[in-house]
Amino acid sequence: MSALFAANSLGEFLANNVSERWGLALAAFIHAFILINVFALAPLIFIWLERKVSGRIQDRLGPTRVGGRFGWLQGLADGGKLIQKEDLVPAAADSMLFRMAPYIACIAAFGTFMLLPFSGGWVAVASDIGLFLLVAILSLEVLGIILAGYSSGSKWSLFGGMREAAQMVSYEIPLAITALVPIVTVGSLNLVEIAEMQTSTVFLDGWLMFNNPFTFIAFFVYFTVATAGCKRAPFDLAEAESELVGGFHTEYSGMRWSFFFMAEYAAMFVVSGLASILFLGGWNTGFGFIDQALAVTRYRGALELAAIDPETGLYLTNFYLPSFLANLFGMVVFVSKASLLVFVQIWIRWTLPRLRIDQVMMTCLKYLIPISCVLFLGATLWPIGVLHFAERSTVMPFFEPIQNKIERLKGVAQKSHDDAEEERAEQDSPVSDVKDERPAVELAPAVASAPLGSEGSK
Amino acid sequence: MDIGLNHYLVVGAVLFVCGIICMATKRNAIGILMGVELVLNGANINFVAFSRYTALGLDGQIVSLFVIVLAAAEAAVALAIALNFYNNHLTIDVDRGDELAG
């Protein structure tokens, strides 16, 4: 269970402060609330963006009326309309599966937000296999599409579902492989760690995209594959209206129909966010001096949270405001990057014509999979080659290796932390006062090493 | 009641038995394949539960990983066989594939 909720900031904080059982439940609730209220809004914004961008590309204005100048409430208005519509189930449909399918698609798309970090430590589940789990959950979305296509009892839907199944299953393979290309460089599947390692020294040098030629190409391959995996144009064969009416959602209407679109836009955001974490530095800006300062601040914050009182052996959970602000800034950076990539996807959709289904499949199976395999092989051999021939860990002449950088920044944070400790110790002489001022939680070593589940049952 | 090893083993047993019944009753080849998957999953639950509740350690999880991977391979081959069966018999009903009956 704790693996599911292994959060190292909010969950632990609540577990330590409130009570272990209810703390975790509370954390889960808070996460869910944030997900629904913040990121379910993201599709609405992106739908508005889509209409706006398409309008501008087609030399028209797009929505203008609802919500002030830019029609920015258009998405909400659409949602309101859709909720009011009748929830239709065709007579030929397999009604249980028909009703169930949109939920599966939606849950799979939104479930991935659980693993997507937004800033240093700001993640619901900081799993060591975050990337793996994220891709696994994302791949469940196809199930909803297939079930929708099958259960509608319409041949257009069946064709759409079939195409979708073939396309998504095929594109999952290059997606996973290209996502593994930067993994080879950093050596971790933990998305937080991956992003933290991309702190730049000078300008953009920390971004994994610029780490070596293979990651550079891999970014573009990944982005193409991710676009196809989200069944976005020019790969939107599952809902090609000129051929299949509406594809798998031909028979859907109202809220169930809109669930598919929420899922689609959520998935777009997730793959774009993943792209920015894997290739574009995550919440790092790319400017060396800013990144380093922010990283030191974040590490300092982590040290403050995990500080142990040397006399009592208790955790001192200090709240460190600069760290919080740095994380907030990081989130802004991250969301901007991801949104930019979503914008590019929209841009592509309204620029490029649609492919034929056999072209789509051939592109994937004959080109993208071999290319991604070659990239993976190259990314594996590159560090060995650089180490062997140039006798250094990177070809960049003046940038330091990833591991050294992290160690150095952590060292700086540790030093400033120690200095602050000393300062505090000098200012506040009596130990008991300190204990009163700061919230302290007793965590005996034996308990700390025992599983939370068994602890709860004792 | 504390959740212990027995609970998980019973869940595994239920899965296993469901798989057996599935294999024994479904005339659809795909259905039989699903029964096989259920049986394998029942066994896998046992492995992982033992890895948690006994001194087996990570070995149980590794074995279950092997099982999962091999089950995927088995599913691929079984589906290919099912497709061939369909090509040859124009049905997926396994009761029709009794050419070798004594």
Partner: protein, 356 residues
């Protein structure tokens, strides 16, 4: 009821319910749906058991992969959207009876064992903690996190992080690990992939007389279409090429330094590149073959008897490594393939034929 208990009962319910629904359903797609429910719940049970990597794998492979394949099978084989092949009620009753008996047997067996005592006698410590601590993850500061990806990876290589008990002598030692099973499973997967593709492939028939048609097309080197070069002839050609290459390489190596010392990386790289260019270049040239092939009167063509492009020749040269890596088996394939093709011939789609 603690959170764990609640989750367990919930998941047990969905798992067993899903499984039973699979049995009861008569529609194959519904069966698949309930199977997804059951298997997804099994993945959640793995998370509950601190086996996060296994759980993720279960999700990825079973729920994400196998189920899709199953639905594929359904769609390709069903003659209509609602195919129901009914089971006779008698069968159902008998199977259920036997199933219930087996279930009682299993439950009886499971509950008959005192696991706590069994664990303690197995460990050899009468006061061992039961249940034992979960297999510790990589993250030592947070043992309850269940991060098992790295320990499992290391375990596959034979490093055991979980045994920190200093009294156990072999605890920190390297063992053989699961590397060999891992490799075997990998090869097995590859074989299955190829085999499944072969079984499920669309059967195509090659038009009769394809060879005869292409014979009329002009080719720079007159070759005997359909007269494939034999293994020994090709081996001799390779031997000659080896002599030619070493006749250049060995003096060059002697210039670089004494032969007893390993050559420099730059030398290896340059000579590998030159050898590659020699092989691929000669085979795609108007000679259609290396010096050894010219001497042995054989030539490289594509499957239509035409000269090969440089790209194809390059692919052929690179896939020679493939032939070499599988214990030279790729080369020996020329002994028994129908058109005397080696593995790299098959990969690049080339033939080696006799010259006129």
């Amino acid at each position: 009821m603690t959170g764990e208990q609640f989750l367990f009962w919930l998941l047990a319910l969905t798992t067993c319910g899903g499984a039973i629904a699979v049995v009861v359903s008569q529609n194959v797609v519904r069966m698949a749906f309930w199977l997804v429910v059951a298997l997804g719940s099994v993945a959640a049970i793995y998370f509950l058991l601190h086996a996060d990597f296994v759980g993720a794998t279960q999700l990825m492979i079973y729920v994400g992969g196998t189920i899709v394949l199953l639905i594929f099978g359904v769609m390709l084989t069903a003659s209509g959207p609602y195919v129901k092949i009914k089971t006779s009620p008698g069968d159902m009753v008998i199977a259920s009876g036997v199933g219930v008996l087996v279930l009682f047997l299993l439950i009886g067996t499971v509950t008959a064992v005192d696991w706590k005592q069994a664990h303690r006698s197995l460990v050899g410590n009468e006061h061992a903690e039961y249940p034992p601590a979960p297999a510790a993850g990589y993250n030592k500061s947070n043992p309850s996190s269940g991060n098992t990806a790295r320990p499992i990876g290391l375990k596959l290589l034979g490093v055991s992080l979980e045994d920190t008990d200093p009294t156990r002598k072999d605890a920190q030692n390297l063992s053989a690990g699961y590397l060999l099973p891992f490799e075997i499973v990998s090869v097995h997967l590859l074989v299955v992939l190829i085999g499944a593709g072969y079984l499920a492939r669309a059967k195509r028939r090659v038009p009769v007389g394809a060879d005869a048609v292409v014979e009329t097309l002009a080719a720079p080197v007159p070759v005997q279409v359909g007269v494939y070069a034999g293994f020994w002839r090709r081996a001799a050609a390779m031997l000659i090429d080896g002599i030619v290459i070493s006749a250049v390489q060995v003096p060059a190596a002697l210039l670089m330094g004494p032969l007893t010392e390993p050559p420099s990386n730059a030398f290896v790289c340059v000579s590998s590149l030159l050898i590659f260019l020699y092989l691929a270049g000669m085979e795609s040239s108007a000679y259609q073959g290396t010096i050894g092939k010219i001497i042995m009167r054989i030539a490289v063509t594509d499957t239509y008897g035409q000269p090969v492009s440089f790209l194809r020749a390059a692919a052929r040269t690179l896939s020679r490594y493939l032939s070499g890596f599988c214990l030279l088996f790729g080369y020996f394939m020329a002994l028994f393939t129908k058109r005397k093709q080696t593995l790299h011939d098959l990969v690049a789609g080339t033939l080696v034929v006799r010259r006129k």
